[in-house]
């Protein structure tokens, strides 16, 4: 009986962990090209989730809503880049940290007022009637999370490795100035990375909303976990986020069962601080050499 409980906790936790991994993946996309991340990414997830919900309220069929929501995510990502990141990059300052926090706050307030402060259910055609696998209950909805995460990450990785535009990513992340000299517009590539990051965030919102409901505070808990995953895995490590995400999700779940549900945040947070202290480049990342 006990082992069933543990398996249940680990599996549900791991599936949630995939959502963290997806959002962390979005961080990697922007960090790799611009050394920046959107500190307001949680709000981006939330606003695009609300937008998707509105599409459904307007009667848009589910399969059409998905690309609509994803597109909206792209637009938001581009907006964040333009308003919060580009100036700081040009000035080679770190003002983007504050600016992305501020844009996130703006998004939060707008969402509160446009859609209200309450949590709302997110209708989905995917069923939430539990299936039983060896005594562990998993819903098709949870499975769809895994499917969605892997599909999207896989597609983007293919894009990065197989297309010219994708390789431009790597170039700009290695040396912005050199890439520009080679004719790759660093600004456009950074824009692209933010657009993709927004796409990924919107997907995370669509996947997770049916399970957790949509509300202004929905992503504030998610985001810190996603930060943990991104940093522990390394901000330039691709699939490492999946492994760490699953690990963290399962760890959280077990913590909440054995120690107390209020403590579930703790492992992720402690892990983040430790990772930052011991290996700022992450378990899978590479240390870079500074030229002086």
């Amino acid at each position: 009986m006990y082992s069933v409980i543990i398996s249940q906790m680990v599996v549900s936790g791991a599936l949630m962990g995939l959502v963290y991994a997806l959002i962390a993946y979005g961080f990697q996309l922007t960090f790799s090209t611009s050394q920046t991340i959107n500190f307001g990414q949680g709000e981006l997830v939330m606003v695009s989730a609300f937008f998707s919900l509105t599409l459904l309220d307007w009667g848009v069929p589910f399969w059409l809503m998905v690309p609509g929501g994803l597109l909206f995510g792209v637009v938001l990502g581009l907006a964040v880049e333009r308003a919060g990141v580009r100036l700081a990059l040009e000035q080679k300052s770190e003002g983007w940290i504050l600016l992305t926090i501020i844009i996130g706050l703006l998004g939060f307030s707008a969402a509160e007022n446009i859609w209200g402060r309450d949590d709302r259910p997110f209708p989905t055609p995917i069923s939430s009637d539990a299936l039983q696998f060896f005594g562990v209950s998993i819903t098709p909805l949870e499975i769809s999370v895994a499917v969605g995460v892997f599909t999207l990450m896989g597609l983007i990785e293919l894009f990065k490795r197989k297309t010219l535009l994708g390789k431009a990513f790597e170039a700009v992340s290695a040396d912005r100035d050199a890439a520009e000299l080679m004719g790759i517009s660093a600004t456009r590539t950074v824009m692209l990375s933010y657009g993709l990051s927004g796409l990924v965030a919107a997907m995370a919102g669509i996947l997770v909303s049916p399970i957790t409901t949509v509300g202004p505070t929905m992503a504030s808990a998610l985001i810190l976990k996603a930060f943990s995953v991104a940093v522990v895995a390394g901000l330039d490590s691709g699939f490492g986020v999946v492994v760490i995400g699953i690990f963290l999700g399962a760890l959280e779940s077990l913590t909440s069962f054995y120690i107390g549900s209020g403590w579930r945040e703790a492992p992720g947070l402690i892990l983040l601080i430790l990772a930052l202290a011991v290996r700022p480049n992450g378990v899978f990342g590479k240390a870079s050499i500074r030229k002086v």
Binding site: T36, I37, F39, A83, R86, L87, E90, E94, G95, I97, L98, L99, I101, I102, I103, L105, L106, F108, S109, A110, E112, N113, S220, L224, F227, S228, V231, G260, G262, W263, E265, A266, G268, L269, I270, L272, I273, L274, L276, A277, V278, P280, I289, R290, K291, V292
Partner: protein, 652 residues
């Protein structure tokens, strides 16, 4: 001088008196509550400004220190029976200790990683406060009783005066701290952590100290907060509060006590500002007009980028117009903060106080305080007679970066009193070797001995052994003035312990440091530019400034890494003179250069590197004719034979 004193100190005294007098005339307890909150936030934001303004990092943990200090104070009263002073001391210590604990991992980090580390600490504290119900009461909250102060019960008014007094003390102490070497060191490490270590100032220790002090103030503010509200719960100290605090510091003005104070008034009074729609409209319209004026001027004069000029106008426009149409400005509180903060970060990064200070100094023509006369150079850099024995020995030194063998077994001996040249084509390992010597990189193999003893690890420790350097890519403290750049590196002057610095007893050594720094600036002929920001100097002057700064270390061994790079001929000549001067004082110099004339003129002995190895060593003239050297620079010997052997010059 007197004018400055009157205006600045006068303003402080007037403000303090006004604030203290308000409860005597106004008896509304609500107003008193707001003013008390203002004083508390003032202390909190001054603490936050240390990390955000001076250290230049986004610190997201200050709200957590507020919370931890608050709970510590409350619990010390209920569990330990402390009085007011005891409880406040506890809250300050708690802030200090937790700040110190967080500092160790967090301060190895920069930028986003630092922000993330502080953010997780904050979330972790909230979780612990929430879950440790046995101690803190968890989500149900903790009732705090206001303790007695030296045997008397404290009324609301009395408590307000206590907060005000503490604010004044904190103000004074921080003013003393930030105008001392501490403040300079904070700014230096923000601008160039590498140079800060290389100049023996110690990036890490100052960061930790700065952060810990800021968190101690956060803890103190927490204690006062607890006794003000007399009821605590973990949810009060979350991210939302932190963003508001950042708003206060940035809007008020970073690196400014007045800025922190103004920011605190904003934070304390903002809820009231928002519920009064007319006031809100007036202020946002004023802001919009200011942004329009500034933006248009900036665009016309081309001093600001288009985005910097237009974005604040759009944001404030949205604020002013939006305010007229929304049903309830309270509901949009966070958006209003966000738009205000956005306009300030983009359009007015120095904050309102920074702007006001500039404006007021122009209006009142306040001269900066007078500088003392420069010390005689011989007292700053006394001439020594070197014995000519081996000073620095490199034995089979190696430094590899993965597969790249940048330095692949070099053995060099530098004798004291000499100017030892280090030349070689690009990529030969000169800078890497020097970086290893000065401690930026650890060696992969081999030994480095200074006076026969192994060199310590790390730039800071190496600097302390009497080795100083300049950098191939300038590492100046760009926001500091030329004078401050040199002052921060000055060795042997700053002896006042921290508590006495806080009390303002470091003025004497400040003056001494200024005088000494002026002497060094005079040596490099930059004395007339001492107040200019390093970033505003010409390239040539910046190079000379780095040398003056390196000399402030009163080094035994000075390493100059391509000091002539990019200099025009007149400056090159000036450089040669300066290096002679330094040499004549007995300082040993390692000179990396591509300018062959400079090398020939100055160097007693030259080592040539190629591919990470020594290929030749000897007097400059010999080395120039060495076929291996020629081959390394120009290609095969036969091609070079056609060229004039004595007068080639390589372009750097």
């Amino acid at each position: 001088m007197l004018k400055r004193l009157l205006l600045i100190r006068g303003a402080e005294i007037i403000a303090l008196t006004l604030l203290a007098a308000i409860p005597l005339t106004v008896s509304n307890s609500y107003v008193l509550g707001l003013l008390t909150l203002l004083a508390i936030y003032g202390i909190l934001l001054i603490g936050l400004d240390v990390t955000v303004g001076y250290l230049g990092q986004v610190n997201l943990a200050q709200a957590a220190f507020l919370g931890l200090g608050a709970y510590a104070a409350g619990l010390s009263v209920s569990l330990l029976g402390f009085g007011m002073l005891g409880a406040l001391t506890v809250s300050m210590l708690v802030g200090l200790i937790f700040g110190g604990i967080l500092a160790f991992p967090a301060l190895r980090l920069e930028g986003p990683q630092f922000a993330l580390a502080t953010l997780s600490f904050s979330a972790l504290s909230t979780t612990v406060l929430n879950e440790w119900e046995g101690l803190t009461g968890g989500a149900q909250g903790l009732h705090v009783s206001r303790p007695i102060f030296w045997g008397h019960t404290v009324t609301a008014q009395g408590f307000y005066w206590l907060c005000l007094i503490l604010l004044a003390l904190v103000w004074l102490a921080m003013r003393n701290l930030l105008s001392s070497q501490w403040g300079r060191a904070f700014e230096a490490l923000r601008d160039s952590p590498i140079a800060t270590d290389a100049m023996g100032v110690g990036t890490y220790r100052h960061k930790v100290a700065g952060f810990a002090m800021g968190s101690a103030l956060g803890g103190l503010a927490g204690g006062l907060y607890a006794f003000n509200f007399q009821y605590l719960q973990p949810q009060s100290f979350v991210y939302e509060l932190m963003v508001i605090l950042l708003l206060g510091v940035v809007l008020g003005g970073r690196k400014s006590l007045w800025g922190a104070f103004f920011g605190a008034s904003l934070v304390a009074l903002l809820p009231n500002l928002l519920s009064n729609r007319l006031l809100f409209e007036v202020i946002s319209t004023i802001g919009l007009l200011a942004a329009l004026v500034a933006g248009v001027r900036g665009l016309m004069k081309k001093t600001t980028r288009p985005f910097q000029a237009i974005a604040p106008i759009l944001a404030l426009g949205l604020l002013a117009v939006g305010g007229m149409f929304v049903k309830n400005t309270e509901d949009w509180r966070k958006a209003i903060f966000a738009l205000m903060l956005f306009s300030v970060v983009v359009g007015l990064p120095e904050g309102l106080m920074g702007f006001a200070a500039r404006f007021l100094t122009r209006l009142f023509h306040i001269d900066p305080p007078a500088l003392p006369p420069a010390t005689v150079l011989d007292r700053v850099l006394p001439a020594k007679t070197p014995d000519g024995g081996p000073l620095l020995k490199l034995q089979d030194l190696k430094r590899h970066f993965g597969g790249v063998k940048a330095v692949d077994g070099i053995s060099i001996t530098v004798h004291s009193g000499q100017i030892h040249g280090l030349i070689g084509p690009n990529g030969s390992g000169k800078s890497t070797a020097v970086n290893v010597i000065s401690g930026l990189y650890a060696p992969s193999a081999g030994k480095m001995l200074l006076h026969g003893k192994a060199l310590p690890r790390g730039m800071f420790h190496v600097a302390r052994t009497g080795v100083s350097r300049t950098f191939q890519n300038l590492q100046l403290f760009s926001e500091l003035s030329a004078l401050d750049n040199v002052m921060v590196a000055m060795k042997g002057v700053y002896r006042t312990p921290l508590p006495l610095v806080l009390m303002g007893l470091a003025r004497g050594e400040e003056k001494r440091a200024q005088a000494d720094a002026l002497a060094l600036l005079a040596l490099v002929r930059l004395k007339h530019l001492s107040r200019v920001s390093a970033k505003d100097l010409t390239y040539g002057d910046q190079r000379f400034l780095e040398i003056a700064r390196a000399l402030a270390r009163k080094p035994e061994l000075l390493i100059l890494d391509e000091p002539a790079a990019g200099l025009a001929l007149p400056d090159v000549n000036k450089l040669v003179e300066i290096i002679w001067n330094i040499h004549n004082r007995g300082i040993t110099i390692i000179l990396i250069e591509h300018h062959m004339d400079v090398v020939s003129e100055l160097c007693n002995v030259v080592t040539v590197l190629d591919g990470g190895r020594v290929i030749a060593e000897g007097a400059a003239e010999e080395v120039k004719r060495d076929p291996r050297v020629i081959e390394a620079y120009l290609g095969t010997a036969s091609e070079a034979a056609a060229a004039e052997p004595c007068s080639f010059q390589t372009n750097p």
